[in-house]
Protein backbone atom coordinates (compact mmCIF):
# COMPACT_ATOMS: atom_id res chain seq x y z
CA UNK A 1 0.00 0.00 0.00
CA UNK A 2 1.84 3.12 1.14
CA UNK A 3 5.51 3.32 0.33
CA UNK A 4 7.83 6.01 1.57
CA UNK A 5 7.57 7.54 -1.89
CA UNK A 6 3.95 8.42 -1.25
CA UNK A 7 4.82 10.89 1.48
CA UNK A 8 4.86 14.48 0.50
CA UNK A 9 4.59 15.62 4.07
CA UNK A 10 8.12 16.88 4.28
CA UNK A 11 9.98 13.67 5.01
CA UNK A 12 12.92 13.91 2.65
CA UNK A 13 16.27 12.18 2.76
CA UNK A 14 16.81 10.64 6.13
CA UNK A 15 20.58 10.71 6.30
CA UNK A 16 22.39 13.79 7.43
CA UNK A 17 25.31 14.88 5.27
CA UNK A 18 27.42 18.01 4.94
CA UNK A 19 25.20 19.57 2.30
CA UNK A 20 21.91 18.79 4.11
CA UNK A 21 19.89 21.87 4.95
CA UNK A 22 18.09 21.04 8.18
CA UNK A 23 14.88 22.90 8.90
CA UNK A 24 12.12 22.65 11.47
CA UNK A 25 9.39 20.27 10.30
CA UNK A 26 5.90 21.52 9.69
CA UNK A 27 4.03 21.90 12.97
CA UNK A 28 7.20 22.48 14.99
CA UNK A 29 8.41 25.90 16.05
CA UNK A 30 10.71 27.56 18.52
CA UNK A 31 9.30 30.10 20.93
CA UNK A 32 11.68 32.34 22.78
CA UNK A 33 11.12 32.54 26.51
CA UNK A 34 11.59 35.65 28.61
CA UNK A 35 14.08 33.81 30.81
CA UNK A 36 16.38 32.92 27.89
CA UNK A 37 15.09 29.36 27.87
CA UNK A 38 13.62 28.46 24.52
CA UNK A 39 10.64 26.21 24.03
CA UNK A 40 10.30 23.88 21.10
CA UNK A 41 6.59 23.58 20.40
CA UNK A 42 5.46 20.28 18.88
CA UNK A 43 2.00 19.03 17.99
CA UNK A 44 1.95 16.84 21.09
CA UNK A 45 3.81 18.98 23.58
CA UNK A 46 6.71 21.19 24.53
CA UNK A 47 10.42 20.53 24.84
CA UNK A 48 12.28 23.11 26.87
CA UNK A 49 15.67 23.76 25.40
CA UNK A 50 18.64 25.46 26.90
CA UNK A 51 21.97 26.78 25.70
CA UNK A 52 23.46 25.13 22.65
CA UNK A 53 20.36 23.08 21.79
CA UNK A 54 18.34 26.20 21.11
CA UNK A 55 21.30 27.80 19.32
CA UNK A 56 21.56 24.84 16.96
CA UNK A 57 17.82 24.84 16.25
CA UNK A 58 17.90 28.55 15.44
CA UNK A 59 20.49 27.73 12.79
CA UNK A 60 18.28 25.04 11.24
CA UNK A 61 16.59 27.50 8.90
CA UNK A 62 16.49 25.37 5.76
CA UNK A 63 19.10 27.59 4.10
CA UNK A 64 22.28 26.91 6.04
CA UNK A 65 23.92 23.59 5.26
CA UNK A 66 24.93 21.18 7.97
CA UNK A 67 28.56 22.09 7.22
CA UNK A 68 27.76 25.77 7.78
CA UNK A 69 25.93 25.04 11.03
CA UNK A 70 28.92 23.08 12.29
CA UNK A 71 31.32 25.86 11.35
CA UNK A 72 29.12 28.45 13.04
CA UNK A 73 28.89 26.45 16.27
CA UNK A 74 32.59 25.62 16.28
CA UNK A 75 33.30 29.31 15.78
CA UNK A 76 31.14 30.21 18.77
CA UNK A 77 32.62 27.61 21.09
CA UNK A 78 36.27 27.62 20.20
CA UNK A 79 37.41 25.98 23.39
CA UNK A 80 35.32 22.86 22.69
CA UNK A 81 36.82 19.85 20.94
CA UNK A 82 35.55 20.20 17.33
CA UNK A 83 35.37 16.45 16.73
CA UNK A 84 33.33 15.85 19.86
CA UNK A 85 31.10 18.81 19.07
CA UNK A 86 30.41 17.45 15.61
CA UNK A 87 29.44 14.07 17.05
CA UNK A 88 27.10 15.69 19.54
CA UNK A 89 25.43 17.93 16.98
CA UNK A 90 25.05 15.06 14.53
CA UNK A 91 23.42 12.84 17.10
CA UNK A 92 21.16 15.69 18.31
CA UNK A 93 19.95 16.40 14.77
CA UNK A 94 19.43 12.73 14.01
CA UNK A 95 17.38 12.27 17.17
CA UNK A 96 15.21 15.26 16.29
CA UNK A 97 14.76 13.97 12.75
CA UNK A 98 13.55 10.62 14.05
CA UNK A 99 11.03 12.42 16.21
CA UNK A 100 9.89 14.31 13.10
CA UNK A 101 10.98 17.63 14.60
CA UNK A 102 13.39 18.52 11.80
CA UNK A 103 13.70 17.56 8.16
CA UNK A 104 17.00 17.37 6.27
Amino acid sequence: MASSGSFSSGAGLTTLNRSSQPRLAVGCRVREGEDGVGALLLPEGVLRLKGTAIDILRLCDGRRTYAEILAEMQGRYQSADPKQMEQEIESFLNRLQQRRVIDF
Binding site: A2, S9, T14, Q98
Partner: protein, 372 residues
Protein backbone atom coordinates in the same frame (compact mmCIF):
# COMPACT_ATOMS: atom_id res chain seq x y z
CA UNK B 1 3.31 28.81 43.96
CA UNK B 2 2.27 26.29 41.34
CA UNK B 3 4.35 26.04 38.15
CA UNK B 4 2.34 27.52 35.29
CA UNK B 5 0.24 25.20 33.16
CA UNK B 6 1.53 24.13 29.75
CA UNK B 7 -1.67 23.91 27.79
CA UNK B 8 -5.34 24.80 27.64
CA UNK B 9 -7.87 22.28 26.46
CA UNK B 10 -10.73 24.36 25.08
CA UNK B 11 -13.80 22.17 24.90
CA UNK B 12 -15.71 24.62 22.73
CA UNK B 13 -18.96 22.70 22.41
CA UNK B 14 -20.51 19.33 23.13
CA UNK B 15 -22.42 19.38 19.86
CA UNK B 16 -21.11 16.70 17.50
CA UNK B 17 -22.44 15.06 14.34
CA UNK B 18 -20.90 11.75 15.46
CA UNK B 19 -22.16 9.49 18.23
CA UNK B 20 -19.06 7.41 18.97
CA UNK B 21 -19.62 4.74 21.59
CA UNK B 22 -16.30 5.57 23.29
CA UNK B 23 -16.69 9.35 23.42
CA UNK B 24 -14.75 10.84 26.32
CA UNK B 25 -17.24 13.65 26.87
CA UNK B 26 -19.19 13.50 30.11
CA UNK B 27 -22.60 11.84 30.12
CA UNK B 28 -24.03 15.18 31.23
CA UNK B 29 -23.49 17.10 28.02
CA UNK B 30 -23.55 20.89 28.04
CA UNK B 31 -26.40 22.34 26.06
CA UNK B 32 -26.24 24.84 23.27
CA UNK B 33 -27.59 27.61 25.47
CA UNK B 34 -24.91 27.04 28.11
CA UNK B 35 -22.05 27.62 25.64
CA UNK B 36 -19.69 30.54 26.20
CA UNK B 37 -19.93 33.43 23.74
CA UNK B 38 -16.94 34.37 21.56
CA UNK B 39 -16.01 37.28 23.81
CA UNK B 40 -15.54 35.07 26.86
CA UNK B 41 -13.49 32.51 24.93
CA UNK B 42 -11.32 35.36 23.69
CA UNK B 43 -10.69 36.44 27.29
CA UNK B 44 -9.91 32.84 28.24
CA UNK B 45 -7.30 32.65 25.48
CA UNK B 46 -5.77 35.94 26.62
CA UNK B 47 -5.61 34.70 30.19
CA UNK B 48 -4.08 31.40 29.04
CA UNK B 49 -1.32 33.19 27.14
CA UNK B 50 -0.68 35.47 30.10
CA UNK B 51 -0.37 32.48 32.40
CA UNK B 52 2.44 31.21 30.16
CA UNK B 53 0.64 28.38 28.40
CA UNK B 54 2.11 27.19 25.12
CA UNK B 55 -0.66 25.21 23.44
CA UNK B 56 -4.38 25.51 22.99
CA UNK B 57 -6.14 22.32 22.00
CA UNK B 58 -9.45 23.21 20.37
CA UNK B 59 -11.79 20.33 20.87
CA UNK B 60 -15.40 19.39 21.65
CA UNK B 61 -17.70 17.73 20.76
CA UNK B 62 -16.92 18.84 17.28
CA UNK B 63 -15.21 22.25 17.39
CA UNK B 64 -16.20 22.90 13.78
CA UNK B 65 -19.77 23.20 15.05
CA UNK B 66 -18.78 26.61 16.49
CA UNK B 67 -19.21 29.33 13.89
CA UNK B 68 -16.51 31.42 15.60
CA UNK B 69 -13.79 28.76 15.38
CA UNK B 70 -11.84 30.76 12.84
CA UNK B 71 -11.72 33.89 14.94
CA UNK B 72 -10.70 31.91 18.03
CA UNK B 73 -7.80 30.35 16.10
CA UNK B 74 -6.85 33.82 14.94
CA UNK B 75 -6.89 35.23 18.48
CA UNK B 76 -4.86 32.30 19.84
CA UNK B 77 -2.33 32.65 17.05
CA UNK B 78 -1.91 36.36 17.64
CA UNK B 79 -1.19 35.54 21.30
CA UNK B 80 1.60 33.19 20.13
CA UNK B 81 -0.29 30.13 21.33
CA UNK B 82 0.25 26.93 19.35
CA UNK B 83 -3.14 26.02 17.92
CA UNK B 84 -4.21 22.41 17.64
CA UNK B 85 -7.60 21.46 16.20
CA UNK B 86 -8.91 18.08 17.34
CA UNK B 87 -11.68 17.17 14.96
CA UNK B 88 -13.76 14.47 13.35
CA UNK B 89 -13.50 16.53 10.17
CA UNK B 90 -17.25 16.64 9.72
CA UNK B 91 -18.20 20.23 8.97
CA UNK B 92 -14.88 20.98 7.26
CA UNK B 93 -14.54 21.89 3.60
CA UNK B 94 -11.83 23.31 1.38
CA UNK B 95 -12.80 26.90 2.05
CA UNK B 96 -12.96 26.52 5.84
CA UNK B 97 -9.65 24.72 5.87
CA UNK B 98 -8.02 27.51 3.88
CA UNK B 99 -9.33 30.17 6.26
CA UNK B 100 -8.24 28.20 9.34
CA UNK B 101 -4.77 28.00 7.84
CA UNK B 102 -4.78 31.71 7.13
CA UNK B 103 -5.87 32.31 10.74
CA UNK B 104 -2.73 30.51 11.91
CA UNK B 105 -3.75 26.93 12.64
CA UNK B 106 -0.60 24.94 13.45
CA UNK B 107 -1.81 21.38 13.66
CA UNK B 108 -4.87 19.30 12.95
CA UNK B 109 -5.70 15.94 14.46
CA UNK B 110 -8.23 13.96 12.50
CA UNK B 111 -9.78 10.94 14.14
CA UNK B 112 -10.78 7.74 12.40
CA UNK B 113 -12.98 5.05 13.87
CA UNK B 114 -11.57 2.25 11.69
CA UNK B 115 -10.02 1.58 8.30
CA UNK B 116 -13.12 -0.28 7.15
CA UNK B 117 -16.05 1.89 6.26
CA UNK B 118 -18.84 -0.27 7.66
CA UNK B 119 -17.11 -0.84 11.01
CA UNK B 120 -16.11 2.81 11.27
CA UNK B 121 -19.65 4.02 10.60
CA UNK B 122 -21.06 1.55 13.09
CA UNK B 123 -18.87 2.93 15.88
CA UNK B 124 -19.67 6.53 14.93
CA UNK B 125 -23.37 5.75 14.61
CA UNK B 126 -23.54 7.73 11.35
CA UNK B 127 -22.10 7.15 7.86
CA UNK B 128 -19.17 9.58 7.86
CA UNK B 129 -16.08 7.51 7.08
CA UNK B 130 -15.94 8.20 3.34
CA UNK B 131 -16.23 11.96 3.91
CA UNK B 132 -13.40 11.84 6.43
CA UNK B 133 -11.13 10.09 3.92
CA UNK B 134 -11.90 12.76 1.32
CA UNK B 135 -11.08 15.44 3.88
CA UNK B 136 -7.79 13.74 4.81
CA UNK B 137 -6.75 14.11 1.18
CA UNK B 138 -7.46 17.84 1.34
CA UNK B 139 -5.45 18.20 4.54
CA UNK B 140 -2.57 16.25 3.07
CA UNK B 141 -2.35 18.87 0.32
CA UNK B 142 -1.78 21.64 2.88
CA UNK B 143 1.98 21.85 3.11
CA UNK B 144 1.93 24.29 6.02
CA UNK B 145 -0.32 22.31 8.31
CA UNK B 146 0.97 19.54 10.56
CA UNK B 147 -1.30 16.53 10.44
CA UNK B 148 -1.92 13.70 12.90
CA UNK B 149 -4.21 10.78 12.20
CA UNK B 150 -5.77 9.49 15.39
CA UNK B 151 -7.00 5.91 15.58
CA UNK B 152 -9.02 4.85 18.59
CA UNK B 153 -8.60 1.15 19.21
CA UNK B 154 -10.67 -1.35 21.15
CA UNK B 155 -11.89 -4.92 21.07
CA UNK B 156 -13.70 -4.56 17.75
CA UNK B 157 -10.88 -3.19 15.64
CA UNK B 158 -7.64 -4.27 17.34
CA UNK B 159 -7.49 -7.42 15.22
CA UNK B 160 -7.18 -5.15 12.17
CA UNK B 161 -4.47 -2.92 13.62
CA UNK B 162 -1.98 -3.80 10.87
CA UNK B 163 -4.31 -2.66 8.11
CA UNK B 164 -5.44 0.36 10.15
CA UNK B 165 -1.84 1.54 10.36
CA UNK B 166 -1.40 1.08 6.59
CA UNK B 167 -4.61 3.02 6.06
CA UNK B 168 -3.46 5.86 8.34
CA UNK B 169 -0.08 5.92 6.59
CA UNK B 170 -1.75 6.23 3.19
CA UNK B 171 -3.37 9.48 4.36
CA UNK B 172 0.10 11.05 4.60
CA UNK B 173 0.31 12.39 8.17
CA UNK B 174 3.51 13.31 10.00
CA UNK B 175 2.20 11.54 13.03
CA UNK B 176 -0.17 8.69 13.88
CA UNK B 177 -1.67 8.40 17.32
CA UNK B 178 -3.02 5.01 18.25
CA UNK B 179 -5.06 5.40 21.38
CA UNK B 180 -6.72 2.63 23.29
CA UNK B 181 -10.12 3.57 24.61
CA UNK B 182 -9.97 4.96 28.12
CA UNK B 183 -12.92 4.20 30.31
CA UNK B 184 -14.62 7.46 31.17
CA UNK B 185 -17.88 9.01 30.02
CA UNK B 186 -19.59 7.07 27.25
CA UNK B 187 -16.72 4.62 26.97
CA UNK B 188 -17.25 3.52 30.56
CA UNK B 189 -20.91 2.95 29.79
CA UNK B 190 -19.84 0.67 26.91
CA UNK B 191 -16.87 -0.91 28.64
CA UNK B 192 -18.31 -4.40 28.42
CA UNK B 193 -18.29 -4.13 24.63
CA UNK B 194 -15.00 -2.33 24.19
CA UNK B 195 -12.44 -3.79 26.58
CA UNK B 196 -9.95 -5.82 24.52
CA UNK B 197 -8.59 -9.25 25.36
CA UNK B 198 -5.12 -9.76 26.75
CA UNK B 199 -4.10 -11.54 23.57
CA UNK B 200 -5.23 -8.58 21.44
CA UNK B 201 -3.30 -6.16 23.61
CA UNK B 202 -0.11 -8.24 23.52
CA UNK B 203 -0.29 -8.58 19.75
CA UNK B 204 -0.97 -4.89 19.25
CA UNK B 205 2.16 -3.92 21.17
CA UNK B 206 4.28 -5.98 18.75
CA UNK B 207 2.46 -4.57 15.69
CA UNK B 208 3.00 -0.98 16.85
CA UNK B 209 6.68 -1.58 17.62
CA UNK B 210 7.23 -3.02 14.15
CA UNK B 211 5.44 -0.10 12.50
CA UNK B 212 7.47 2.38 14.57
CA UNK B 213 10.68 0.75 13.39
CA UNK B 214 9.54 0.61 9.74
CA UNK B 215 8.39 4.25 9.68
CA UNK B 216 11.26 5.73 11.70
CA UNK B 217 12.01 9.25 10.52
CA UNK B 218 8.92 9.30 8.28
CA UNK B 219 5.90 9.02 10.52
CA UNK B 220 6.02 9.28 14.27
CA UNK B 221 3.73 6.77 15.94
CA UNK B 222 2.52 7.41 19.47
CA UNK B 223 0.75 4.62 21.27
CA UNK B 224 -1.57 4.96 24.23
CA UNK B 225 -1.71 1.56 25.90
CA UNK B 226 -4.75 0.33 27.80
CA UNK B 227 -4.14 0.99 31.46
CA UNK B 228 -6.34 -1.88 32.68
CA UNK B 229 -3.61 -4.23 31.45
CA UNK B 230 -0.78 -2.22 32.97
CA UNK B 231 0.92 -2.88 36.30
CA UNK B 232 1.15 0.79 37.20
CA UNK B 233 -1.22 3.68 36.52
CA UNK B 234 -0.76 6.34 33.88
CA UNK B 235 0.42 9.76 35.07
CA UNK B 236 -3.02 11.10 34.18
CA UNK B 237 -2.78 14.60 32.62
CA UNK B 238 0.75 14.77 34.05
CA UNK B 239 -0.78 15.05 37.50
CA UNK B 240 -3.83 16.93 38.83
CA UNK B 241 -3.35 20.66 38.33
CA UNK B 242 0.27 20.23 37.27
CA UNK B 243 0.23 20.84 33.48
CA UNK B 244 -3.23 21.32 32.03
CA UNK B 245 -6.45 23.23 32.37
CA UNK B 246 -9.64 22.29 30.59
CA UNK B 247 -12.46 24.74 30.04
CA UNK B 248 -15.74 23.04 29.23
CA UNK B 249 -18.37 24.54 26.89
CA UNK B 250 -20.09 26.32 29.79
CA UNK B 251 -16.86 27.79 31.16
CA UNK B 252 -16.33 25.33 33.99
CA UNK B 253 -12.62 24.85 34.59
CA UNK B 254 -11.40 21.30 35.17
CA UNK B 255 -8.02 19.61 35.53
CA UNK B 256 -9.06 16.98 32.94
CA UNK B 257 -11.91 15.80 30.72
CA UNK B 258 -13.72 13.77 33.34
CA UNK B 259 -13.26 15.48 36.71
CA UNK B 260 -16.79 16.90 36.82
CA UNK B 261 -17.97 13.42 37.85
CA UNK B 262 -16.16 13.70 41.18
CA UNK B 263 -18.65 14.77 43.84
CA UNK B 264 -17.89 17.34 46.50
CA UNK B 265 -15.59 19.58 44.45
CA UNK B 266 -16.79 23.03 43.41
CA UNK B 267 -15.18 23.70 40.08
CA UNK B 268 -14.83 27.37 39.19
CA UNK B 269 -16.16 29.07 36.09
CA UNK B 270 -14.27 31.45 33.79
CA UNK B 271 -17.27 33.76 33.88
CA UNK B 272 -16.51 34.43 37.54
CA UNK B 273 -12.80 33.94 38.10
CA UNK B 274 -9.65 34.42 36.01
CA UNK B 275 -7.66 31.35 34.99
CA UNK B 276 -4.63 32.46 36.98
CA UNK B 277 -6.60 32.55 40.23
CA UNK B 278 -8.19 29.21 39.45
CA UNK B 279 -4.79 27.68 38.73
CA UNK B 280 -3.04 29.10 41.75
CA UNK B 281 -5.67 29.57 44.43
CA UNK B 282 -8.78 27.50 43.79
CA UNK B 283 -9.57 24.63 46.13
CA UNK B 284 -10.49 22.48 43.13
CA UNK B 285 -7.06 22.68 41.48
CA UNK B 286 -5.32 22.22 44.83
CA UNK B 287 -7.46 19.29 45.87
CA UNK B 288 -5.15 16.56 44.48
CA UNK B 289 -2.09 18.61 43.66
CA UNK B 290 1.16 17.44 45.22
CA UNK B 291 1.35 14.52 47.63
CA UNK B 292 -0.47 15.55 50.78
CA UNK B 293 -3.74 13.93 49.72
CA UNK B 294 -2.14 10.57 48.97
CA UNK B 295 -3.15 7.42 50.81
CA UNK B 296 -0.91 4.40 51.22
CA UNK B 297 0.49 2.67 49.23
CA UNK B 298 1.08 5.88 47.16
CA UNK B 299 2.37 8.02 50.02
CA UNK B 300 5.49 5.94 50.55
CA UNK B 301 5.81 4.63 46.99
CA UNK B 302 8.90 5.34 44.90
CA UNK B 303 6.70 5.83 41.85
CA UNK B 304 4.61 8.64 43.34
CA UNK B 305 6.59 11.30 41.47
CA UNK B 306 6.17 9.36 38.21
CA UNK B 307 2.45 8.65 38.18
CA UNK B 308 1.11 10.98 40.90
CA UNK B 309 -1.08 8.19 42.23
CA UNK B 310 -2.74 7.72 38.83
CA UNK B 311 -6.12 9.01 37.80
CA UNK B 312 -8.49 10.55 40.37
CA UNK B 313 -11.52 10.13 38.12
CA UNK B 314 -10.81 6.46 37.54
CA UNK B 315 -10.34 6.00 41.28
CA UNK B 316 -13.76 7.54 41.88
CA UNK B 317 -15.55 5.80 39.01
CA UNK B 318 -14.32 2.36 40.03
CA UNK B 319 -13.82 2.49 43.79
CA UNK B 320 -16.23 5.29 44.71
CA UNK B 321 -13.38 7.23 46.37
CA UNK B 322 -11.56 9.89 44.34
CA UNK B 323 -8.73 9.93 46.89
CA UNK B 324 -7.98 6.22 46.56
CA UNK B 325 -4.98 4.81 44.72
CA UNK B 326 -5.84 4.33 41.05
CA UNK B 327 -7.28 0.80 41.01
CA UNK B 328 -5.26 -0.20 37.91
CA UNK B 329 -2.13 -0.09 40.08
CA UNK B 330 -0.95 -3.59 40.96
CA UNK B 331 -0.24 -2.26 44.47
CA UNK B 332 -3.75 -0.85 44.94
CA UNK B 333 -5.95 -2.64 47.47
CA UNK B 334 -8.79 -2.39 44.92
CA UNK B 335 -6.92 -3.91 41.95
CA UNK B 336 -9.29 -6.88 42.10
CA UNK B 337 -12.06 -4.65 40.72
CA UNK B 338 -10.02 -4.27 37.52
CA UNK B 339 -9.04 -7.93 37.44
CA UNK B 340 -12.70 -8.93 37.61
CA UNK B 341 -13.34 -6.80 34.52
CA UNK B 342 -10.41 -8.33 32.72
CA UNK B 343 -11.60 -11.82 33.56
CA UNK B 344 -14.96 -11.00 31.94
CA UNK B 345 -13.29 -9.43 28.91
CA UNK B 346 -11.16 -12.53 28.44
CA UNK B 347 -14.01 -14.97 28.85
CA UNK B 348 -15.47 -16.45 25.67
CA UNK B 349 -18.92 -16.31 27.20
CA UNK B 350 -18.84 -12.52 27.21
CA UNK B 351 -21.50 -11.48 24.68
CA UNK B 352 -19.27 -8.72 23.36
CA UNK B 353 -16.47 -11.12 22.59
CA UNK B 354 -15.19 -10.67 19.03
CA UNK B 355 -18.25 -9.20 17.35
CA UNK B 356 -19.86 -5.83 17.84
CA UNK B 357 -23.50 -5.94 18.92
CA UNK B 358 -26.02 -6.39 16.14
CA UNK B 359 -28.12 -3.24 15.59
CA UNK B 360 -31.25 -5.11 16.71
CA UNK B 361 -29.51 -6.61 19.73
CA UNK B 362 -31.53 -6.62 22.94
CA UNK B 363 -28.47 -5.43 24.83
CA UNK B 364 -26.87 -2.92 22.47
CA UNK B 365 -24.07 -0.53 23.19
CA UNK B 366 -25.00 3.05 23.95
CA UNK B 367 -24.37 5.71 21.38
CA UNK B 368 -23.31 9.11 22.64
CA UNK B 369 -26.31 11.38 22.55
CA UNK B 370 -26.62 14.99 21.47
CA UNK B 371 -26.82 17.84 23.95
CA UNK B 372 -30.36 19.09 24.43
Amino acid sequence: MATPPLALIAELTHRCPLHCVYCSNPLQLRTNSEELPTGVWTQVLEQAAKLGMFHVHLTGGEPLARSDLNSLVSVAHSLQLYTNLITSGIGMNEKKLASLLAAGLDHLQLSFQDAEESSADRVAGVPVHARKVALANLIHECKNLAFTVNLVVHRHNLDRLDSMILFAESLGPQRIEIANVQYYGWALKNREWLLPTREQVQRSVVIVERAQERLKGQVKIDFVTPDYYASFPKPCMGGWGRQLMLVDPSGMVLPCHAAAVIPGIDFENVREKPLSWIWEESASFRRFRGEDWMPEPCRSCDRRALDFGGCRCQAFLITGDAAATDPVCSLAPTRKLIDERLARANSVTNPGYRSAPAPESADPWTYRSQPA
